[in-house]
Symmetry: C2
Subunit: 334 residues, 2 copies
């Protein structure tokens, strides 16, 4: 039986084997991805992003458990977790206590947890994540969590892989408003304030609500200190970003997040948003693939010797970076 077929039939060993091949970028892995691709497009991809220490891994753990043991009348779902965050307990990067909490999921055959082994290059990481998500999708995992750290451009890139993006904040230094302005507003479908038992939670909540409410009341109004690149497109398109409080370590407040995820999925289906996001998602994936492949091919085309010689001339400032570029890409030694 082919590897792809074994995976489609639920063979976990075959699945694990393909995931490794995909991470290593083997030809067999790529062949198998091609074979599986027609079976993708069914999973609900949920991005979970937040700073280290916001407790997002614990939250994902609780949510995964709830998808496995849902409220009465709802079917349990097959759940996969892809931890892109190197600080995630799923990746083995956190203190022991956190990993102990993950034991709830350990013996469950309906759950598959995969952490990205290496950080690698940025583009490579996002491409590999996309490939791994595809494998889980084709293997019949209905809910796939993609956990990423922070809110930089890299995380925004990875967020484009998801249908629903949960941004996790925790009451902290009181400058949450800054984090929101840094592009989080643009990617959040659901906002979770975790560690809601900490003293400063009211400040955090007030700051978040004021931003979201103000935007909804009057989308044309701009606060004088608001950078002009902050958009509220998703709010105005019929989805109001819920702001929910949890204490994930105590399993508190998880059910409302679970419900918000279901409601967002419904919203995606009922509006044209699901299709639009699939389009963006696959285009991002394709563009990343192109970028990485162009670089790989160029690297193969040039000898290490030539490259080193040009680099040495650059370091000794005999040529400028743009001259070096010209020489390396066009062989222009003039």
């Amino acid at each position: 039986m082919s590897l792809a077929k074994s995976i489609r039939e639920g063979n976990r060993l075959a699945l694990a084997r393909l995931l490794t091949q995909v991470e290593n970028g083997t030809a067999e892995g790529r062949e198998c991805l091609n074979e599986l691709f027609p079976y993708t497009g069914n999973a609900h991809l949920i991005g979970v992003t937040g700073s280290p220490g916001s407790g997002k891994s614990t939250l994902v753990n609780c949510l995964a458990f709830l998808f496995r043991h849902p409220p009465e009348g709802e079917p349990p779902r097959q759940v996969a977790v892809v931890a892109v965050d190197p600080t995630s307990p799923f990746s083995g990067g956190a203190i022991l206590g956190d990993r102990l909490r993950m034991r709830d999921l350990a013996g469950d055959a309906g759950v598959f947890i995969r952490s990205m082994a290496s950080r690698g290059s940025l583009g490579g990481l996002a491409t590999t994540t996309a490939d791994i998500v595809q494998v889980f999708d084709a293997a019949g995992y209905e809910v796939i969590f993609i956990e990423t750290v922070g809110a930089g451009q890299a995380e925004v890139d990875i967020a484009r892989l998801a249908h629903t993006t949960i941004v996790v904040e925790s009451p902290g230094t009181g400058d949450e408003v800054q984090a929101i302005k840094a592009g989080i507003l643009e990617i959040a479908d659901i906002l979770v304030i975790n560690k809601a038992d900490l003293p400063m939670v009211e400040n955090t909540e007030r700051a978040l609500r004021s931003i979201f409410n103000w935007d909804m009341e009057d989308p044309t109004h701009h606060h004088p200190d608001e950078p002009s690149n902050v958009k509220v497109s998703r709010v105005t398109k019929g989805w109001q970003v819920p702001i929910l409080k949890t204490v994930a370590t105590d399993n508190e407040g998880i059910q409302p997040v679970y419900q918000a995820i279901s409601q967002h999925l419904q919203y995606l289906y009922q509006s044209q948003e699901w299709l639009r996001r699939e389009h963006i998602r696959l285009q991002s994936m394709l563009d990343l693939l192109i970028q990485n492949t162009l670089l790989e091919r160029w690297q193969k085309s040039i000898s290490t010797e030539t490259y080193q010689k040009v680099l040495n001339n650059l370091v000794s400032r005999q040529i400028s970076p743009y001259h070096a570029l010209q020489i390396l890409l066009d062989g222009d030694l003039s």
Copy 2:
């Protein structure tokens, strides 16, 4: 007089003009960069990175002021600040109070502050930052701060542009240890705990010190929960990362950071580290340039029509991402 020459002679208007040209990627800007490149390599490039809310902009503000008004016996330096962080008060992205604090530097002709106007693509951002740093370097700015947010891959890329990297933490959620493991240990030359008047500062300090001390006492020992990719190369090479406490809003504890920066510069010169970092820095710059240029050229080579057709086939799952790649790069329609 040529633009490059005006800049070399200290004309601020010419400098501002070139910075805009560099940001817009004009041919004149590139020409001027080539002309200026031989005059670079003198500035001390200081990266300052930390989460939104850690107060790194305020710290940079205090440090810049101290470089302008140094302790007796030391010359004042020309200081430039490049704010890559879109949440930075330097970029206009923060609350009014923060920006008011920046007034100390406003009227000083020996200081030039430039924030990156747009986030743009990730690669583009790092390349443009490198170019802008070069301009300041050639223009005679002796100390150049590069302020970036967070500690993701993007920030590590930008940190490679610096000779000395300051990581700013603030007492917060108590999970500082996670942030360190997420690659910060690899890039920090100086660690600053800002907002040291907050209650949890002792925990933060203890967590940071335990990691650094343990690494120094026995570099071969590995903690069982330590991911294997954490390296302590810089510690073992003769530089002990200082951990310093500041309250930047009150201008407290700034002088020790200033001294640590000077000591680190001395260390770089006395060891072979300065040369090694220059090599890494210029190589990173060159690699980014190559990557961006390859993509730009490919984009120009393909018609929007072809691209859209392939993308549509991908979205409808008639072809896989790797098939789409083959078609777009090789015209392979088989």
